[in-house]
Subunit: 458 residues, 2 copies
């Protein structure tokens, strides 16, 4: 089979040196199991992807598709004896059509590169996962990635018009369309988005672009209790305000970032939570939105509210928000969870994380997308200590149980991968799992694609 | 089996009188074939739906689910010997949660009733198909219905968080969630939305609500060529303006409406196309949006542009727009098509419809949702004339061929049903069709649900 792969992709497209293939074994999730691939392939065209899929199908060798490997669920982790199919060489932006506001891209395009390219046309590709400067569109599509934009612009699936996918028998499926509207047939596009490489290999995507938003105005509010911050979020939602960004940082996150960046976020010593909000509505509308949020924060008991339309000041605040994970590395390894709860339950989630932190004796910093209820409680542990790792894992699971008990979901944007299979089963129940299996078995009867990820297909 | 149905649903829940069942044989699409049902059932609970599905599955009797029957594709049309499952008695709005901005409804709720109910909480359910005063949410979900709102707010699928569905073996599947964000597992919600009753019976839906928009400001612009109107639409898109509504009426539509409503739309005698736009951004932002559109229209060669923030004047213009179909009845029966093209191709579509009209010798009025490229060329014919009916049918097909040749899709919001099966096959190709069959056969192996609709499952 390796010879067949080399014949199709050339020597540079097939890697079997274990020292090199090892660097394609896993993504960024420390909890997830991973194995050793037989080979790593780096196809450059859809025809090469077809050749890989057909060769693997004949040899019954599983394929694990992956992009840059920035994932946080182990969905891209190799299994023993598999072929890892890396899409990073398929990185052409094939088309940007400003008149119809769409782009056609290959899966290996880096999110930031696409953002920069369309921005030159006054256009905007919203999905902005925290790894946006190195993650690929293919990985974003496979995990249905989110980011800070979601409160106003949704997750990746909301920006996808159509896909090209190589199926388990090597045939090429084209889903969707170039029109912004269309309901012909089953929505296969949105079935493949978020399917984490278990149904096929995405080789091309037609993406919907938006007008470039106005320069954002920014607001930061400090609260002495998380309950007050949670109440402010609920009231913003209740009053129908839709900011373009609404992030929350708890006390642990603030402390870590202030220490890491050697800066003051102005939260003050009694601060339990910071809200950072932006409006990209522009000019008067933006000022009105922020003024409304300011009033909500004040009447929810904020100790301090500060608004600015200085773009660089806003950028600094977002830099601080995005620095939470590296900042936590000062204390140890981090393990970030991903739960999404109804927006009314955020304060309860944060309170619960404080309890879990005390129980397991580990620091848990809560940071997240308050505007859509998607929280990332991040557990800090000593990677050299088995005991701490075990406690971190326990905390990780307890946070998921808490999220479910609050009416939430076990993943808001990172996906299920190899770490939340049991949690997916718990969330969707036996009938949901059965339907997943029926679809998987219909489209990938020999379990060629990413076996063992998301759910047990058998 | 009928006895079994009566035992489960009571006598009032099962109708076999042919005079009554005849009224449930078909929807509003004159081209679509339909048959005579064995029985019509009107379940009131999910348990009753399960009982119907199980009884039919045992007896291998097909089920055609339907709501009010306002559909325009024959998707709800009976086949001979089937059970028509009508959801109109399941019409409870189970919950409106203003804090988390969602509603939970049964499928038989009328669209307008839901809109009115959530409006009392300052909330907005966007999908507004033209039959919104009598169509049901279940039908909207099954066809992935659209309306005038789509240019800004998308189609039905964009407002759905989760579903409850009775599957082919009578089990209840729950998809999705109550959070605004969530990526756990395959997106089964969006797979069932738009599946036109071929995969299961939707018995409950959790819908995302939006803040009630501001009172709309309205603009109307008259153009002496459709090319100029099309250019204006393209430039609005290109300049990144997102109106909350952007409709187009061609000369035939304007004439029909002016005659029908005995009013002047102010288009003038040389007018080839009217654009009607609204902004619901409110106050200054709304005025700015309309001013930008006004400038685009003027520089695209509009003969007349008129803006108003008088709500009742805006409502009158929309009434005129919505009156196109009844207005055409003065001339004969109407047959409305549904194609969606890239927004840059609207003028070509209208021009093509003029050619087709001349070819078949029938009036074709083009009206549609210009902002998203979704056009409804409507053919007027004499229902008593077989020849005219045949020519209408030919025009219907030629419009679809034209739409596809312009890079469009054969349905923007009405669905495939029983009239566009061959067109769906043509649009999605053999691999697309195969994947549809694989999913259908996996979830409904005995082809219990809506056989012969959308595609041939065999």
């Amino acid at each position: 089979m390796i010879a067949e792969l080399r014949a199709a992709l050339g020597d540079t497209g097939v890697v079997t040196d274990p020292e090199v293939t090892a660097s394609y074994e896993r993504d960024m999730m420390p909890l997830a199991p991973y194995g050793s691939p037989l080979a790593v392939v780096l196809p450059r065209t859809v025809e090469e992807v077809q050749a890989v899929v057909r060769a693997c199908a004949r040899a019954r060798v599983p394929i694990v598709p992956r992009g840059a490997g920035s994932g946080l669920s182990g969905a891209a982790n190799a299994v023993d004896g598999c072929v890892v199919l890396v899409t990073t060489k398929m990185n052409a932006i094939l088309e940007i059509d400003p008149d119809d506001r769409l782009a056609v891209v290959e899966p290996g395009v880096v999110n930031l590169d696409l953002r920069a390219a369309v921005e030159k046309h006054g256009l905007f590709y919203p999905p902005d996962p925290s790894s946006y400067d190195w993650c690929t569109i293919g990985g974003n599509l496979s995990t249905n990635a989110g980011g800070l934009c979601c409160v106003k612009y949704g997750v990746t699936t909301d920006s996808v018009l159509g896909l090209e996918v190589v199926l388990a028998d090597g045939e090429v499926l084209r889903t969707g369309r170039r029109t912004v509207k269309g309901v012909a047939g089953y929505d296969l596009t949105k079935l493949f988005v978020g399917s984490e490489g278990t149904l096929g290999v995405i080789t091309k995507a037609t993406l919907a672009l938006r007008p470039l938003p106005q320069a954002p105005a920014t607001l930061v509010a400090a609260f002495s209790t998380t309950a007050a911050a949670g109440a402010a979020v609920s009231r913003v939602v209740r009053e129908g305000i839709v900011p373009s960004l609404m992030e929350i940082m708890d006390r642990s996150s603030i402390e870590a970032v202030e220490r890491y960046l050697r800066t003051e976020l102005g939260a003050g010593p009694g601060c339990a939570a910071l809200l950072i909000c932006q409006s990209d509505a522009g000019a008067e509308a933006g000022r009105r939105e922020l003024a409304a949020i300011e009033q909500v924060c004040a009447s929810s008991g904020a100790d301090l509210v500060h608004s600015t339309d200085d773009v660089s000041e806003g950028r600094d605040l977002l830099t601080a928000r995005r620095a939470v994970l590296p900042a936590l590395e000062v204390y140890g390894a981090w393990l970030t969870d991903d739960v999404c709860v109804p927006r009314t339950r955020i304060a309860e989630l944060i309170g619960g994380c404080e309890r879990i932190s005390a129980e397991v004796g580990l620091r848990i910093a809560v940071v997240g997308h308050a505007g859509d209820g998607n929280m990332h409680p991040t557990i800090v542990y000593d990677a050299a200590s088995e005991d701490e790792f075990a406690r971190a894992r326990r905390a990780f699971d307890e946070i998921l149980a808490l999220g479910l008990s609050l009416g939430g979901t076990v993943t808001g944007e990172h996906g299920v991968g190899k770490i939340k299979r049991e949690w997916l089963a718990r969330e969707i129940g036996p009938v949901g799992l059965r339907v997943h299996r029926e679809i998987k078995n219909a489209l990938d009867p020999h379990h060629l694609f990413n076996p063992g990820s998301m759910f047990d297909a058998r």
